[in-house]
């Protein structure tokens, strides 16, 4: 039977530092996915995931064993990403590009899922892709995080507001503003709904 996260945390707090490895191995990949969706960079995502675990270890005493370690560390990662996005000023439109065949040397390139649209619904033209990239770049860090959490990760408004330490209305507003900006950029290039 798999040892629970709470039991591992208790083990680490009792002095077994190496037991922390279990938590890193269990959660690092999902955190990497989350962070990558917000930063679009493998290197930055790895760095943020590592930093997240370092912070989690240092703050482990504050973790309540009844809580979910995955949720707790997810919040730390999201906040670290938010700080990172703010410091990097990711809303620079030159920073993002979208490509079907990403250049492995270019960490600023986002690859879009090839299964995004069926032919009869929406053809993602080259123009559409560049608009999408531009739209993503126009989002503020908070909007980008809120949109990723709500649209791509399916997280609730309650989770977003708790993670970003916002009121529920402010979290909703961040999601709305993100969608509004995406619409302004993408709608002129989308085919009309059938």
């Amino acid at each position: 039977m798999q040892v629970t996260d709470a039991a591992v945390v208790a083990q680490v707090l009792a002095g077994d530092r190496d037991a922390f490895r279990i938590l890193v191995e269990r959660h690092s990949r999902s955190l990497y996915h989350l962070v990558y969706r917000m930063t679009g960079s493998s290197e930055d995502s790895e760095e943020i995931v590592q930093d997240t675990f370092l912070r989690a270890f240092k703050a482990l005493e504050k973790f309540e064993l009844r809580s979910n370690f995955g949720t707790w560390v997810y919040r730390i990662a999201t906040n670290r990403t938010l700080d990172f996005l703010k410091s990097k000023k990711m809303n620079d439109t030159q920073q993002y590009r979208i490509a079907e065949d990403p250049d492995p040397d270019d960490s600023r390139e986002i690859q879009l899922a090839a299964t995004a649209a069926t032919p009869d619904r929406l053809a993602i033209s080259e123009q559409m892709k560049s608009r999408m990239a531009q739209a993503l770049s126009l989002l503020t860090p908070a909007e980008r995080v809120a949109f990723t959490m709500r649209h791509m990760e399916g997280r609730s408004i309650d989770e977003i507001s708790k993670t970003l330490n916002l009121k529920s209305s402010a979290a909703k507003n961040s999601v709305f503003r993100a969608v509004q900006k995406l619409r302004q950029q993408l709608e002129p290039f989308a085919s009309p709904a059938k």
Partner: protein
């Protein structure tokens, strides 16, 4: 009839509108808002998701190795105001004590210096060797993980090869030590590790994709990374046990 705002329509798409029932009812009755909602629905359902590139099969291991090297000894204790206050109070007492000691030392009549015999703790040579071997295995593990995880052949650059050469030199010493100490398991592992390190250190300056593939398959076929990890962990456990059973630790407990 008052139409729905853009915000209400967007939030309804995610099921987050303040009054979902009212929005639904309005959409059923108002064709203009319904058309607006359908337009949004069509757009958002076609927003492509960001495809995350696979970080590699050794990703978790790489993360742990990088995190472990930066971890403090133990998690920070939760600090309270009183704990912080006590800390400063203690610092104040210490400062007063030190100042008192300083002035007492200055004005107290001097005494001839005395030779004091100190029984310095003697390090257990076996433990010292094991600590060094553990460290060597960790560093080797990091190098191997880096190579297995790299996106392309550029990982085998000059710096990596130099690192492999350094590890190779120390590897020889530890292998001989392990043989002399009668530890065939570690000696055998270091022998295997040495062959791979030599291959990395001696790779041509212009490495091809095939060279990288060969090195990787050698690491994989020998199960080297796994063995290094397991033996490294065992060595560290032995070191910890020795530390716990050392006379100094026993004395401390008493």
């Amino acid at each position: 009839m008052k139409h729905l705002s853009e915000e209400e329509i967007v939030l309804h798409y995610y099921g987050d509108a303040d009054d979902e029932a009212q929005v639904k009812q309005h959409l059923a009755e108002c064709s203009a808002c319904r058309a607006e909602f359908e337009r949004l629905q069509s757009l958002l359902s076609s927003v492509p998701s960001v495809e995350v590139p696979d970080p590699g099969s050794f990703f978790e291991e790489k993360m742990w190795l990088n995190v472990r090297d930066r971890l403090p000894e133990k998690p920070a204790a939760a600090k309270s105001f009183w704990a912080a206050g006590r800390k400063w109070a203690l610092a104040g007492v210490m400062a007063i004590f030190l100042a008192g000691a300083f002035f007492a030392g200055r004005f107290w009549p001097g005494r001839p210096p005395q030779i004091v015999k100190v029984n310095a703790p003697v390090a257990d040579p076996q433990r010292v060797v094991l600590v060094a071997v553990g460290d060597h295995l960790e560093r080797s593990q990091m190098l191997l993980v880096e190579i297995m995880n790299a996106d392309d052949k550029s990982v085998l650059d000059e710096a990596t090869q130099m690192q492999a050469r350094d590890l190779l030199n120390t590897n020889r010493l530890y292998r001989v030590s392990a043989q002399q100490a009668g530890d065939p398991r570690i000696a055998h592992l270091l022998d295997q590790l040495g062959r791979v390190l030599a291959e990395i250190a001696n790779a041509p300056s212009q490495v091809s994709d095939n060279d990288l593939r060969d090195i990787r398959s050698r690491i994989q076929s020998d199960g080297l990374l796994f063995k290094v990890r397991v033996v490294g962990s065992e060595v560290n456990s032995r070191v910890r046990r020795m530390e716990q059973n050392s006379p100094a630790a026993t004395q401390q407990r008493l």
